[in-house]
């Protein structure tokens, strides 16, 4: 019953996505050109990576939410660009930047697990700190002029599919799915989200798992920062803007319950592709990009409302 409901929901989301694609294809024949599909995938990577992290944070329950992902994308992107421009080996700089993102996630995780702050308050505060830092350190100007050789990951593509989709997004998704469904840790994440107290009584390392999940969210955000750097050959201090809203909406629209314990990554990813298609489609129809923000705000509220109506009161 639960499984069939989940599949129905996923099917519904895919149907909405296909409907949107069909709409845009009719209104603008160039929509399905290779170049446009490629650019949709190009745009989707940042959001997809951040959403993978966000989904796990929400899945693990306890009011889990990471509002600082956008700030981590910007800040670790800057760290990587800073390293590369400083003459560091690009691989080393990337590795350093990703570690740094993990460290920023660790701060969130410690605030939540050790200091027992509400996740939404802790990450709201760090989101302002991280976003503020990336603007303050650069005085708002992008750190540009990365060498062309650094653009391989972000700009190359194989048969129209961007390299980072193949090399980062797909493997991350597959590995995480494997972990979630086949490994004890993955099952524990669902269990913690479902009933934290029971898990504690069972002796599961609840706090450690949660800490790891925030670190993971930092890592995926930093990967997004790396892809952005490589794509634009510059690090923008506001590249992560609105990613917290978008990733949260994608995760919830994809069927993850805001209370944790149920949902999954596949739905989140479909929601990400839906959003990026929407963005690309609206752009081709010359609709102001700001509309997307409004749509997403509505989707966020509607997806939680819908969740309530479908599941009834069983979610409490």
């Amino acid at each position: 019953m639960v499984a069939s409901f989940k599949n129905m929901r996923l099917a519904g989301l895919v149907a909405i996505w296909i409907f949107a694609l069909a709409f845009f294809a009719i209104r603008s024949p160039a929509f399905f050109s290779l170049a446009n599909v490629s650019s949709i995938l190009q745009f989707s990577t940042l959001l997809a990576l951040v959403t993978l992290g966000q989904t796990l944070v929400i899945l693990a329950g306890g009011g889990g939410i990471d509002l600082s992902v956008g700030g981590i994308v910007s800040l670790s992107g800057l760290a990587i660009a800073f390293g590369v421009k400083g003459g560091l080996n690009p691989y080393l700089a990337s590795l350093g930047g990703i570690t740094f993102g993990g460290f920023l996630g660790l701060i969130n995780g410690l605030l939540v697990t050790k200091f027992r702050l509400l996740p939404l308050m802790a990450t709201l505060a760090t989101s302002y700190a991280y976003n503020g830092l990336s603007v303050a350190l650069t005085e708002g100007a992008p750190l540009s002029g990365l060498p062309m050789s650094f653009g391989t990951l972000g700009q190359r593509s194989i048969a129209g599919i961007p390299l980072h989709t193949v090399l980062i997004v797909l493997p991350s998704f597959l590995i995480l799915e494997l972990v979630l469904w086949q490994m004890p840790v993955g099952r524990w994440i669902y269990a913690i989200g479902g009933n934290e107290r029971a898990c504690r009584l069972l002796g599961l390392p609840v706090d450690l798992i949660r800490l790891g999940i925030y670190v993971h969210s930092g890592l995926t955000a930093a990967l997004a920062g790396l892809v952005a750097d490589s794509w634009l050959l510059s690090a923008r201090p506001n590249i992560g803007e609105n990613l917290e809203l978008l990733s949260l909406t994608a995760a919830l629209l994809g069927g993850t319950s805001i209370f944790g314990g149920s949902g999954g990554l596949a739905g989140s990813l479909v929601a990400v592709f839906f959003f990026t298609s929407l963005q690309a489609g609206l752009q081709m129809l010359n609709v102001n990009a700001i509309w997307q923000l409004g749509f997403v705000g509505c989707f966020l509220i509607l997806s939680v409302l819908l969740d309530r109506i479908i599941r009834g009161e069983e979610t409490k």
């Binding site: 200091f115 702050l117 709201l124 503020g132 509505c298 966020l300 409302l305």
Partner: protein
Amino acid sequence: MHRLVGRRAVTLALACLGATGVLQAFSPYFLTTANLTTILHNSVELLLISLGVSFILATAGIDISVGGALGISAIFIGWSVEAGWPLAATVAIGPLVGTCLGMVSGIVIVAGKVPPIIATLGLFGLYRAAIFLLLGGSWISGLPNTLAPFVNGAILGMPVVALYVLAFYFLGWLILRWFPLGTGILAVGGNERAARLAGVDVGKSKFLVYAMTGFLVGFAALLYVARYRNVETSTGETIALDAIVAAVLGGSSVLGGRANLFGTLLGVLLVRLLQNGFVLAGVPSLWEQVITGLLLLLVLILDMFAARNARLEME
């Protein structure tokens, strides 16, 4: 005396004095009448919004859409001034729009049972898009001085703006201390289930809190437009965080069940004092967000330790 003012207020007052001392050491300009007036001047909108946010936190809710609601209300006020509406109508439109927006949050949260953070984050996205679309990319600026009679002037040496703020705080205090509504609000935040069983109309209490905050946001927008006579797309962008910091500094618990309006008032002053002082001390204003974010973390952590100690003492 202790009961009337509370330990929190004393701590905050001391923190204000301490910060003043340190900041004065960095910039001799800090402790001048002109600068202190500037700080008070800059606090007005935040004072009103923080009052509402204190009530929301007391119900264990949160509102991060206040900045967006402030912007939209300000746009409507700006338009009504441009259109040359009579003073009474211009004064009414801001709080009216604000209240409507607050009611939207209230309906989504109460009737839709959407967690406040999700509801207000979604609405914030929507409001920001609306602000851009309503303004059409250009700012409203150089408005005529229609609203001046409403904000200029003084009664018994007190600027009227200060009187508005104090009146709202007094009203808030009355509601919280003497009205069933206030008791209900605190009860809902303290233990929603128990409050419901005790006969408190939980939905009504929550709804009214968001509607009330909307009204205060609309009134803040009115004072904003009256004083600055322009509306920008970035109006109110970071005020939600400032309001939460001020309320939490003032002694509101983010877990609900507690509100300290006098504390909130001092909290606002401390936030604005620090922000002003850091700029005078030579820290670029770009760092303001970082400082406010860290301040929030610091207060939350200190509060957590204080609560833990209090628990230990009880055992």
